[in-house]
Subunit: 300 residues, 2 copies
């Protein structure tokens, strides 16, 4: 194929900046008490790859949509992701003091403020969606579907349910099907919803949505496997049982269950399946393709 | 006026049963992990007056709406209220072990499960709204406004923000304007949104919405004052400084700031203002009128 090399780096930089600017705008509204607003901003602007917003925008691009409100959806997804990290880090949950090199929200502020900042971010995510939708009543039905897809993925049968499974599994390592189910819920569901919401915003047809769902499921799983692999390669002594801060809690990981090499092969297979699902799309899906390749080629 | 006596008791019983049955249906969906689903059901079905759902339905009735989806909105409001109680009771927040005569969620389950049950209920509230709306695309714009109104009231500038102010005020009693602001956000905002959402579901015009907003603001404040008064009358020794479990935390209340008699007079004035705001409505607003009178006449 005589395809010009797609410049993923420039694409990511541009989209990340747009998302970050829009998040700044959303989070600088002065209606919340200052301490709460500070904690919300602190956590959302603490860095991060903005994977979910970028997948959402790239899915919209792949379908050829020029949805000018896509940033509202992208930011809602990132706010939901941020809230989940704040709550996951709490002492009663994973009890993590550092996230992305900075003190976690409950360390930088306090536990009550962290719980409330998470609650407020989740609520603001839905307000951002409903507000953007209400401003354009002609597309209202589409916005309701987007909200529905995101809410289902973020809730008890998705992200929150996966975190519950993760918590209750502590101390008793799980097997591969259990690990897969837990991660499909905990991180996979919102990644899937990010891609689907972007496609819905671009008025994708059902064939396109189905193919993008296969793409997203495989990218989501490859992303998790690659994360586990990178943790081990950063410190091979961790292969023995579990990874990173998970080690003290005896959490299972792909390398601990499959071994390092088999994990890498599995991640590559998932990416191949993700790329196969995109064959119905033209070169407007190059961002999605490049993101899939990047997931397993990235270095810490 | 030759108005037949409105049977509030029968009205409340019938609406409460409908709301409770619908909540049962929503919460019996098996998609969430069993422990999470149990904790969500435990907290939502722990009793309670269902004030917000009933205000929502009564506002819809007052405008003459026959919105058959009003139960979805009513249940979403109750799930948001329930989630806020779960999180407010947490050790890092008010640290309450008993709620409505039963162990609080984090006592009956554990802290992580309680945090996640709250998160899942908040998310399910929005999913309930978007799902009901997406099923009837012709009214989609109205549903987006309902979601927007509820999200704004529940978030950082409303309920969550009020809880943050309540937490940060601990140990330093507030003055009356601060108490009013805190309670307007913490409990008033969602009560206002309940009435407004019911009115929107019935296609209320802007004059009706404005009058109902005045009604709701006054009922919300009277409800809080009456609650404080009932606590003192249940145990007069509590008047000295603060009320009930608030006493140990030196929280200000209306009786501690105004005295008992002045508090009662203020509550009655608020109810008079609430009733005045309803003069533009016909006898279909009888439920709203009866609820307002009940707020200050109830006994524990």
């Amino acid at each position: 194929m005589n395809r010009p090399e797609f410049d993923l780096k420039a694409y990511l930089l541009e989209r990340r900046e747009k998302v970050n600017n829009q998040l700044d705008r959303i989070l600088s509204q002065p209606a919340a008490p200052p301490r709460l607003a500070d904690a919300m901003r602190y956590s959302v602007t603490a860095g991060g790859k903005r994977l979910r917003p970028i997948l959402c925008i790239a899915a919209c691009d792949a379908v050829g949509g020029a949805a000018d409100d896509i940033l509202a959806v992208a930011c809602a997804l990132e706010m939901i992701h941020s809230y989940s990290l704040i709550h996951d880090d709490l002492p009663a949950m994973d009890d993590d003091a550092i996230r992305r090199g900075k003190p976690t929200c409950h360390v930088a502020f306090d536990e009550a403020t962290a719980i409330l900042a998470g609650d407020a971010l989740l609520t603001l995510a839905f307000q951002t969606l409903s507000g953007a939708g209400a401003a354009k009543p002609s597309n209202a039905a589409m916005w309701l579907r987007v909200i529905d897809v995101i809410a289902e993925a973020a809730g008890g049968s998705g992200m929150v349910g996966g975190q519950l499974l993760d918590m209750t599994a502590e101390g008793q390592p799980v097997d591969l099907p259990q690990l897969e189910r837990m991660q499909r819920m905990k991180t996979g569901a919102l990644i899937q919803a990010s891609v689907q919401a972007g496609a819905l915003m671009a008025n994708a047809d059902s064939e396109q949505i189905d193919h993008l769902a296969v793409y997203a499921a495989n990218v989501g799983q490859a992303f998790q496997i690659a994360d586990d692999v990178l943790n081990v390669e950063g410190d091979p002594s961790r292969l023995g049982k579990a990874v990173g801060s998970d080690a003290e809690r005896s959490k299972s990981t792909y390398p601990s269950l499959l071994g390092l090499e088999a994990s890498k092969i599995l991640a590559r297979e998932k990416i191949d399946q993700a790329l196969n699902a995109l064959t119905i799309f033209d070169n407007r899906a190059e961002p999605l393709r490049a993101i899939a390749r990047y997931v397993i080629d990235r270095r810490r």
